[in-house]
Symmetry: C2
Subunit: 97 residues, 2 copies
């Protein structure tokens, strides 16, 4: 199982992840992705869903029309792990930014 | 454009929609759907996404693993319309409950 990152390691990782930030009062990272429309937003979500299922690591996410807000944390570890950083980077890459 | 339902009409419609309720402090209806796992949750979301795109009426929804919480309201009408009731019933039917 992935180990929870120290606060220092988590914050160091975030420095290379523009748009991501730490959730207030919680050891989790979040980013809001804006698309051109619902088709593009849900298309992206579908690609991420396949990645999530393959990694067996699933996001919390909220979608309304062209906006998707994602929160990542590893439940079993009680906080942010390398798996969350990996997932965040995949999300960014598939988003194209 | 769909007209906003009166409170009476909205509440009357909700009587036939077990699981749905009115959101506190907002003219919107909500239901939480529970699935067996992420595959089933996201599979259902994908079917609903196609319906939403066809109707040009999109939900607000939050997913974490096997749970999806949906909120429906018609932005342009400033509240719940027949379109939301139609979408809610389609969601129920595709969910199978």
């Amino acid at each position: 199982m992935a180990d929870r990152l120290t606060t220092e390691a988590r914050d160091a990782a975030l420095k290379d992840m523009p748009g991501w930030s730490v959730v207030a009062d919680r050891d989790a990272v979040t980013r809001t992705f804006e698309f051109r429309n619902f088709q593009e937003a849900f298309g992206w979500m579908t690609r991420i869903a396949l990645v999530a299922e393959k990694l067996d690591h699933h996001p919390e996410w909220f979608n309304v029309y062209k906006t998707v807000t994602v929160t990542l944390s590893t439940h079993d570890a009680g906080g942010v792990t390398d798996l969350d950083i990996e997932m965040a980077k995949k999300m960014d890459r598939i988003f194209g930014a």
